[in-house]
Amino acid sequence: MENFQSLLHGFTIALSLQHLALMVVGVLLGILVGVLPGLGAPNGVSLLLPLTFGMQPVSAIILLSSMYWGALFGGSVTSILFNIPGEPSSVATTFDGYPMAREGKSTTALATAFGSAAFGALVGVILITFLASWVAQVALAFGPAEYFAVYFLAFASFVGMGGAAPMKTVVALAIGFAIAAIGIDTVSGSVRLTMGVDELVKGVSFVVAVMGLFGIGELLIAVEEDIHARAVSSRIDWREVFRAVARLPKHGTALLRSAAIGCWMGITPGGPTAASFMSYGIAKRFSRRGRYFGSGEVEGIIAPETADHAAGTSALLPMLSLGIPGSATAAVMMGGLMIWGLNPGPMLFIDQKDFVWGLIASMYVGNIVAVVLVLLTVPVFAALMRIPFVVIAPLIVIVCAVGAYSVSNSYLDVVLMLGFGVVGYLFKKLSYPLAPLVLAIVIGDKAEDAFRQSMLMSKGSLAIFFDNRLVTSLVVAGFALLLLPLALQVLRLLRGDADTSGEKVRII
């Protein structure tokens, strides 16, 4: 009941005129970055970040999270109309969305996608509403050892369930940690890993990494694949919108199952991309019409879209209550929280009630705003896709350069950004996952601090990680996830299957 009251209070914050306006702006910008190839939700949110420093934290987070919702929806628009996933997490939507649109049923495909996406998001928000403050309460009792164990569990789940080659995930994670360590060490005050470059003392911001990895890297991939927008009709038939949405309840099981997969992957954190692929795969296996998947099947749109949005939304749960972001974009937002002077984690629910519940309430409202706006603006943004890539690409390069520079007014950051772009291209090309890298950059210092504090408490003995039942089970679960890919491979060998499934899914 207390949650409900807090939520009502949150609505009084979220429903102010100023915040509604911010939601509209955020969603529109989000759809824009979602539609444009090369710019995605992590980039968009990082770009806006320096512009929010003068705002109230609650207004800033409403703007950024609305942009996230917009980007999730925008990514589906291009997937369905152009067969070009605007966001990595909407790749699975192209499998059935585009074939359906090509049959002349683009309105049906879009409405089905948005309807199930909204449902997924709703389930995610409801989960946050009821679970977040409870998780935060539990986490209040955490000491540094428990925190380190939770971080360890989060990273282990990337390795075990992320879908990319496990050792590539491990390398990506460790690189992120090393980058996080560059600069002044917060504990001892000594300068680390600058490798002789004095300007690196300030460290490498995650924004710089995101601009390069996701922005430039994505552009290089896009130019290589030489995408051409072959659009199907982008006209919206409003009656068909309502009819398509009315048909959704018939697919109740698919909706619920996909939402559950999404929430699980969002919280654990596997991220929206892995969630949408997993949900699509499972739906294909369990649906009676599984054979027809890939030729414009309704459940082939419902499954990835619901899971994508459920994961995207619930990724904010561990960010708010534990300080562990569930996706790359959530990681960027969490970086923002820290810059605004807030401390992500359980104390937010005590010190910053307005912030937390304002955000949660805004997620309900923001998603409604997003559905309405995206339906209204489909033709506008579809027209945007007809601007040739040669014009868009240099503009995005400039935007990324400006974004990297504006973090700390440093030219070195722009050069680093370009370097990250090359790394981003190589990693994407070779299926190294990027999200764990960004996550590790954002929370690397916190994980390290937790480790060093626990070591101080135990005077250097690792036994502290097996001190009580809670911390032991977290650590054991982490190790189990780390060993999961190995166990699966052994199992496969025993059954005599060839190892071919390792890199089937291109995970961001």
């Binding site: 460790a174 690189i175 040739p388 040669v390 480790f451």
Partner: protein
């Protein structure tokens, strides 16, 4: 033309040498248990070791890669995007963000004749103007003006 095997190995060597650099650099900060707890270099040292070990594993796996990763035409397209972008970034300290971006857009659009001259000129002038309005005016974020502007007294 770049084979998948070459690309996998090159990337593994790249990540591995970063790992090695991290290890060497972290040794300066000291590793292990010091008078005031875990030494500053310990954590980076461990990550460096993990990066190096993981890269070695990926290197060995990458050797069995087959097929072409980047074809010649792919490579040309990638260079066509990346080389001008790198030149743009290289020009920023001298020409400043505004001049460099205008030149970059104009060069990319007009020189390979993707767009007619007037059109390229309009986009090239509109971009820095939009940057100026959004950043310098609306959000008071100063972008680099460059050595050229400084020499002219701006």
């Amino acid at each position: 033309m770049i084979s998948r095997r070459a690309l996998e190995t090159a990337t593994a060597v790249l990540t591995g040498s970063f790992g090695l650099a991290v290890i060497v650099s972290s040794l300066d900060n000291g590793i292990g248990w010091g008078s005031d707890g875990v030494d500053a270099g310990t954590f980076p040292f461990i990550t460096g070791v993990i990066i190096l070990a993981g890269s070695l594993y990926n290197l060995l796996r990458g050797l069995s890669g087959i097929g072409v990763a980047i074809s010649r035409t792919d490579l040309r397209r990638i260079a066509g995007l990346f080389v001008p972008a790198a030149m743009f970034v290289g020009a920023i300290p001298f020409a400043g963000m505004y001049l460099a971006s205008a030149g970059y857009i104009f060069g990319v659009l007009a020189l390979p004749k993707h767009r007619s001259l007037p059109r390229a000129l309009i986009i090239a002038l509109a971009t820095p103007l939009a940057l100026y309005i959004v950043f310098e005016r609306m959000f008071q974020v100063s972008l680099p003006h460059g050595g050229l502007a400084a020499a002219l007294g701006y």
